[in-house]
């Protein structure tokens, strides 16, 4: 969809138009699901996070003040993912399962695989969590490195270096 069309949808969402919100799900739903899936490796969890993201969007859309909407929505997606991680860490501490998870192959993936993990998912699990998240954010949000640096409040050189390191390692693992 052209940028002007997306702008019109966003304006409609700000006015509380239901049709515009469902259009927004059509535009961003698949990409956001892909982002969550690559970070969690779990389909059910990705569905939950996706739903949570769009419900939160209803509350927060009025705070969007222009600029890259892709950057805005994926920053929110990233916050939801981190909230999930914090919740999961608390839960894990309570259940005292942390050590078991570290030993498992899927330790780097937040949700644990759901059994049909593809080769890419396995390779991603080998990356540092921070690097993996940056690579996924860059890929799915389509943000420029400059926008990513602003969104994450990190120097642009650091973002470039992490993404480069992650993608290079991914090439080696997938090669």
């Amino acid at each position: 969809m052209a940028q002007r069309g997306i702008d019109r949808v966003i304006t409609g969402c700000k006015k509380g138009d239901e049709a515009c919100f469902t259009q927004l799900v059509d535009i961003y739903g698949r990409r956001c699901f892909g982002y969550f899936y690559r970070l969690t490796g779990n389909r059910d969890l990705s569905e939950e996070l996706l739903s949570e993201l769009f419900v939160k969007l209803v509350e927060k859309i009025s705070t969007y003040r222009g600029g890259s909407f892709d950057g805005w929505i994926f920053t929110m997606a990233s916050n939801i993912f981190h909230d999930h991680l914090r919740f999961k860490q608390r839960q894990t501490r309570l259940l005292d399962e942390h050590s078991k998870r570290i030993k498992s192959k899927s330790a780097g993936v937040a949700g644990g695989y759901d059994g049909d993990a593809d080769k890419m998912q396995m390779a991603l699990a080998e990356l540092d969590s921070d690097v993996r998240e940056l690579v996924m954010m860059r890929y799915y949000s389509q943000m420029s490195f400059r926008e990513m640096a602003e969104s994450r409040r990190e120097p642009i050189g650091t973002v470039l270096s992490k993404v480069h390191r992650g993608l290079k390692r991914l090439r080696e693992l997938m090669g």
Partner: protein, 177 residues
């Protein structure tokens, strides 16, 4: 892997334009070229191994949740507006009742009584000499004022003007301490 296949897999807008120039700010030209190539190839691999998409059922469920959240939000906003309007109406009604009760000139002495009772009760507890002097002055002016009001002579308005000036001076002294 051909470019047309990649177009379908790599999300629209992943741009590598200006990447080499950006990298050149951090490293020499050949390293920048190599790094840019690593990034481009890595993102091509990501595009070639795209994540599974959500079921249509999931997207439909998300839409349903969004619409429900939107309606809930509308209800909350409506309730908040009603509450605000009710509070505003209550303030207007109470203000109106107060004005009706105390705004009537026949009842205006009651306002003075209420107002006077507050400083009196405060001053009774005070033992500051200045307060005592000022109290005496105000009482003196009050008695002159009531005298001026009852005076039928032509100098009444001038007397009141003098008293007002004096009252303003006393008031000024009081705030200066």
């Amino acid at each position: 892997m051909n470019n047309s296949a990649n177009e379908n897999r790599i999300p629209r807008g992943v741009s590598h334009s200006g990447l080499r120039e950006l990298l050149a700010g951090f490293m020499d030209e050949s390293a920048a070229r190599q790094t840019a190539e690593d990034i481009e190839k890595g993102e091509e691999i990501l595009g070639a191994h795209s994540a599974p998409g959500p079921d249509e059922r999931v997207l439909a469920e998300v839409k349903k949740n969004v619409v429900a959240a939107l309606r809930r939000r509308r209800t909350v906003v409506f309730q908040r507006r009603i509450l605000t309007a009710a509070v505003a109406a209550a303030i207007v009604v109470v203000s109106g009742l107060v004005l009706m009760r105390y705004g009537d000139p026949q009842n205006s002495h009651q306002i003075r009584m209420v107002a006077a009772s507050i400083p009196a009760s405060v001053w009774e507890g005070a033992d500051d000499a200045d307060v005592t002097v000022l109290t005496a002055e105000i009482e003196n002016i009050q008695s002159e004022l009531s005298g001026a009001h009852s005076d039928d002579g032509g100098n009444g308005s001038n007397d009141i003007g003098d008293l007002e000036t004096e009252l303003i001076e006393v008031n000024g002294d009081m705030w200066k301490g």
